[in-house]
Symmetry: C2
Subunit: 501 residues, 2 copies
């Protein structure tokens, strides 16, 4: 078995390294590449992705797995090699079921559709993207159909990002959440709006970035194994467990932009930096799912970074850095400002209470489109109506409406959004479990120390990489299956303190 | 023919893109990579290099070439496709003659030897590298032997970097040069040393870098298709004709370090940026040889950047930026300081007059080692004796002696150094030819405009990439074969003005 396993690991490690090389080229493209580099860079990234895919679908991988599985089945379930073989089998099956010609065609379409979207959005021109979106929908359906046996056509697409999650499991979860959130938002909206003007002064870029880096270093983000650079759309990217980078975007007239996006991306980054170093170079060295990954970005951004305790420690330091702008602003005013709840149009700017309403309506539209209950041409009107219904606001145009998110215009329709809300829900569970194990965590946060919280996450989540399925990981870490109650308890407690509920 | 040619171009472009991807990873490693990224990065670069090599040695390349050559032989010699097929044939033959196991073994040895050298040099420990160097010599000989039919064992190694150049052609060239240089250096050394203390004040890093970038932008280095970043050992690297980057290193107590290295690397960069855009992605989109490449770095660094005319325009600007340090220093004092001739120990710090003596003694040692006339263990003593003989100085230790250059400790013995001197010699020819065609160039330089000089280089050198052999390129551009006289005339004229000769 050892020789065959070694051969498999070598092949898997080459696939991972090709993906990592493509990721380096993508990071450079988004940070430092001069404009003239674009045409060749697209070609180079596409080549590396294709070579990785070719190697993953090599029938020899299947043969090695077949030889190994009878042996690995005898190993304990939580044996690392057994887990690696399970993960490799999953990736192999996902990859071989989709013909390479389809992958190439869909990728080419996505690249072209993305280009159209980049100009259509500022031009507020839904018509320009309509035909591409119809094609994307068609490709998305065909992609799902390569995985027959599903209950709902969205299930295979959801499974790519959130293994084991289905429409059937999501519907009751989301329904429970929506039932609780809509009246909560309603009740808050009836109250006097919070004044957040203190966040809109002029805050110089370099001080903003330095402050964000100071915070995440205390969180435990390791700059010896990471970096922070500027980009247009912040992201986290990993080239190995020893090189996990984040990027940020700064608005000098909005203190929240760089700050919370840095905390968010650092959450993703600490996850990847915390994976068991023995998994280096193997497909198991990755996040468990989009939902589990998002639970960590939201944890450090919101549960920690927008908490009163956190700012008890950091606000005096922030006031020192921006004394002119903040010396007259009380901690309470600042805390209320960064937690202002507002029914708004843009998902990425949404507060903690309204955020999931933005996500869930997108999820519903994905199902409607895939099921053929909604035509692409009717999407803008449906979008606006649903915003009115759920959030009480109506987009004045498509630019800040249906055109706002890149996902459908550069990828798949189906499976693109549920992870954001799953992340919030899981974050509620993980945070509650960590606090149950270590009731001292809130006191530590108020003292600017995060070892216990970070340590719990590392031990229970980060370390395992993809060793367990998301559902297994959640149960092992929290003792229960996915459940919205901890998250709702968190929101209720936090926002009862901020608003009259 | 068109279909076969298209197939060949596709394959060649994938090889080039794999090399470019490896170069991006190498650039990142040398500029921004956090320390934790090192282990995976080595693995990833090695993988991309191996995949490129595998594709280049694919017998299908040979079959395509065989099908194309009868057709391309009928094309005019200067037809682009004919040239591409010649270049591809050359690269293919070079690659297939060396067994992949040998390449892997030699690369692994070089990587290990380089690691040892990085600590052995500061520790002044030649013994630590001795065994590796003997192995390197053995590998270098074996590498040469894969190309039988040579006159001198160094010829195949020289041919890798400087196509068509042999020991037989280099010996008289270098002998003529040495015969002229040794008495020139001797005569200058007998005169009072120039005071260059004005260059050793404190010059803040950001102003130094900004000034260097201002100059090279005027030269014609295109920042829309390039960047300048900081590194430990400056280099130029190209990922496509649209993305050609340089790096620099700054010493705040030495104005010359960043300035002239920026000009030098920009010369290499303008060469790559100036290649015919139609060659993009093909192996013909590269410099003609190491010597021709170096002619361009030396042109912009020395022939332009250390000329009196150049500083007539730029010195007042430099004085403005560093007014505290330079306002009392005359142009003449500054000009003498940056052209100070000094018999010194370190090649990379050497002035224009002594530089080639450093290079030629290394070249001679490569031949001595390859021929077995000198044993590795005797190299340090031989090195010190030859420095005494040629430069009148004796290294106090190996750190600043035989251990100073990375080349032998991370690569091949043979073919590593001749390009530096060929570059100077060719620069003399190219510059003289450009001035003959455009006598207004010196006046333009004194006015801070470089379009004519840059235009001549672009038209006669850069544009062609590897279309012509180095010898063909030199003859086409200058009307004569390689010849040291223009370079010696340049040195005589310039240094007669600076010293009593």
């Amino acid at each position: 078995m050892q020789k065959t396993l070694k051969e498999l690991k070598l092949r898997l490690s080459e696939i991972k390294d090709l993906e990592a090389a493509a990721a380096v080229l993508g990071w450079d493209l988004a940070t430092y590449m001069p404009p003239g580099g674009a045409p060749a860079r697209g070609r180079q990234i596409a080549l590396l992705s294709r070579l990785g895919h070719e190697r993953l679908t090599d029938p020899e991988i299947g043969r090695l797995l077949e030889k190994l599985e009878p042996e690995s089945d005898k190993l304990p379930y939580d044996d690392d090699d057994a887990a690696l073989i399970r993960v490799a089998r999953r990736d192999f099956e996902k990859a071989v079921k989709v013909p390479p010609e389809f992958v190439a065609e869909f990728n080419a379409h996505s690249a072209a559709a993305y280009q159209v979207w980049t100009t259509a959005r500022p031009a507020n021109d839904f018509q320009a993207v309509e035909a591409n979106l119809e094609k994307t929908l068609e490709y998305s359906r065909r992609l799902a159909e390569f995985f027959p046996g599903y209950d709902h056509i969205a299930d295979p697409l959801i499974d790519f990002a959130d293994q084991g999650t289905t429409v059937e499991t999501l519907r009751p979860l989301f329904s429970e959440l929506r039932t609780a959130l809509v009246p909560l938002v309603q009740s808050i909206s009836e109250q006097a709006p919070v004044d957040d003007s203190c966040l809109k002064a002029h805050f110089p870029e370099s001080e903003q970035r330095a402050f964000g880096k100071r915070i995440i270093e205390r969180f435990g983000y390791d700059f010896e194994r990471g970096r922070e650079d500027k980009t247009h759309h912040p992201f986290m990217t990993s080239f190995s467990i020893g090189d996990v980078r984040i990027t940020t975007r700064v608005k000098e007239n909005d203190l929240t932009e760089a700050l919370f996006s840095t905390l968010h991306e650092a959450g993703h980054g600490m996850y990847e930096q915390g994976i068991n170093p023995e998994y280096e170079g193997l497909p198991i060295a990755d996040g468990a799912s989009s939902g589990v990954h998002e639970s960590q970005s939201r944890l450090w951004e919101n549960f920690v970074g927008r908490s009163r305790g956190f700012w008890t420690f950091f606000y005096p330091q922030l006031q020192e850095v921006f004394s002119e702008q903040l010396s007259e602003i009380s901690l309470d005013t600042f805390y209320r400002a960064i937690n202002k709840v507002e029914r708004s149009l843009i998902r990425t700017d949404a507060d903690e209470v309204t955020y999931n309403l933005h996500v869930m309506l997108r999820f519903d539209f994905e199902l409607d489109l895939l099921e053929g209950r909604l035509a692409v041409k009717d999407l803008p009107a449906a979008w606006n109506a649903r915003y009115k219904e759920d959030l009480g606001v109506e987009p004045p145009d498509d630019k800040d409406g249906v055109l706002q998110d890149v996902h459908w215009y550069a990828g798949v329709i189906g499976g693109s959004f549920q992870g954001y809300t799953l992340g919030n829900v899981l974050c509620g569970q993980f945070f509650e479990a960590a606090l149950q194990a270590h009731p001292e965590i809130p006191d530590e946060i108020a003292k600017g120390t995060y070892e216990t919280l970070h340590g719990w996450m590392k031990e229970n989540i980060y370390h395992h990489g993809r060793k367990f399925t998301p559902a297994e990981l959640v149960e092992r870490a929290t003792g229960i299956a996915i459940n919205v109650e901890p998250y709702l308890r968190y929101l209720q407690t936090k926002f009862s303190d901020l608003y009259t509920l």
